[in-house]
Amino acid sequence: MLTKRKLHALFWVALLILGLGVALTQGDEEIDPYKEAERQRELFRQTSGGILPGELYAAEGEELFTRKRGPKNASLEACDFGLGPGKLEGAYTRMPRYFADTRKVEDLESRVVSCMVRLQGFKPEEVGRDEVKALVAYVASKSSEMPLQVVPKHPNEITLYNLGKELWYRRAGSRDMNCSICHDTYAGGRVRLSPVRSPRQGLSNEWPAYRFEADKLYTLEDRIAFCYESVGVHPPDFYSEPMIALSVYMLTEATKGKHKFTELPGFTR
């Protein structure tokens, strides 16, 4: 078994080699973004003893999940992600969903926060974003490559789906954008080199993912925030209703398109 320290050392070596790889491949050729992502992934695999960065986050998340922490000195093993306390296998495939204990529709990210508050006794403002991301990576890894199953049924889930749809089409800001004009009308096109997909084509099925261009783990909320920022709109707060509503909308549509999650955590641009 590799220790965490060793993993991190390997990770930095991999990063160095990756940087070199990027520098060397800036030729005249137009790069195919999918092939490029695959190539980068292989580079990481080969140079880090078969470990991808996303797996490091998940390992960190597992440690946070099982350790007793917080004012109540409890682990998160009793956290219910919808299938019962501690049942993680496939739980993410049905999220966001309605939770009776909080009487809210929660995505995986906000569910992690409410468990840290309710089970461990943290105050919401004490919950660090990096911890949440690591925990999300761990829980999501238990739904790797499984079919999406987000089907709004509870009235609150249906409400959030409808709100998400309305936000999806809402044109605003100085760039006059909405999600749909890029991700529906021009799906298949490219912004610069980045290919754009629609929800029915599977948009949103690879998160949380390590983005090698940013060298960071992105959750779905991070990715939504990134698109908002890139069109000049200040993103909604993390764990807020617009984040959850847009996630419900996209994942429901991706479910209708009969998509699976990619390997989770994903590895992408």
């Binding site: 709100l163 809402r170 044109r171 021009y186 912004v191 909604p236």
Partner: protein, 189 residues
């Protein structure tokens, strides 16, 4: 008499019902937007035509198109002195700059620029159209306000939002039309 009275009540109830369908949902939507934080709520405010595009999912009904185009046309401003063709070198910088035109996100321009987007039509050799009054005016107005020609286009209204001033818009027009600009000079014919 009786029947009329009944019909009246039915009409009132029906109107109330349809209003209550619209009302609570919009109210709920605003609550959700507020929940996203004040900066998000501020940025998500819409002008009337952004709201119209959203409502019709970016495909306006035919009768709404002409008034929409007219309203958008009336928003176009021109440079003092009326020169719509500026300096292509300044135009190139504005075309490229992600905080200004950001045109490469969606269009090819200088064929030597790598990794240009393909959401919009290619603009390589755009200058082949010549520099007649009509071409210059169309190009200027399109770049200043894309929605004056195509309602709810993906292409944003750079001039209307002040991302490009009238003078800056004229520089971009020159970048597209001047035979010496790389858009045209670097194009193989």
């Amino acid at each position: 008499m009786e029947i009329r009275r009944h019909l009246w009540w039915i009409a009132v109830l029906w109107a109330g019902f349809t209003l209550s369908q619209e009302g609570p949902f919009l109210q709920r939507l605003n609550e959700a937007i507020q929940d996203g934080g004040s900066a998000y709520a501020r940025d998500l405010q819409q002008d009337a035509d952004q709201a119209l595009c959203s409502r019709y999912r970016d495909r306006l009904p035919p009768e709404a198109v002409e008034p929409f185009l007219q309203r958008q046309r009336s928003l176009i401003r021109y440079p003092a002195g009326g020169r719509l063709l500026g300096d292509w070198k300044q135009g190139e910088a504005l075309f490229t700059n992600p905080r200004k035109g950001n045109c490469y996100a969606c269009h090819t321009g200088d064929p030597k620029e790598k990794g240009a987007g393909r959401m919009g039509p290619g603009l390589v050799a755009y200058g082949q159209r010549g520099t007649s009054e009509a071409v210059v005016r169309f190009t200027y107005e399109k770049v200043y306000n894309a929605w004056a020609f195509q309602p709810c286009s993906l292409m944003y209204r750079a001039g209307v939002h002040g991302i490009l001033s009238p003078e800056e818009t004229a520089h971009i027009v020159a970048f597209l039309l001047d035979p010496a600009s790389p858009v045209n000079a670097n194009a193989r014919r």
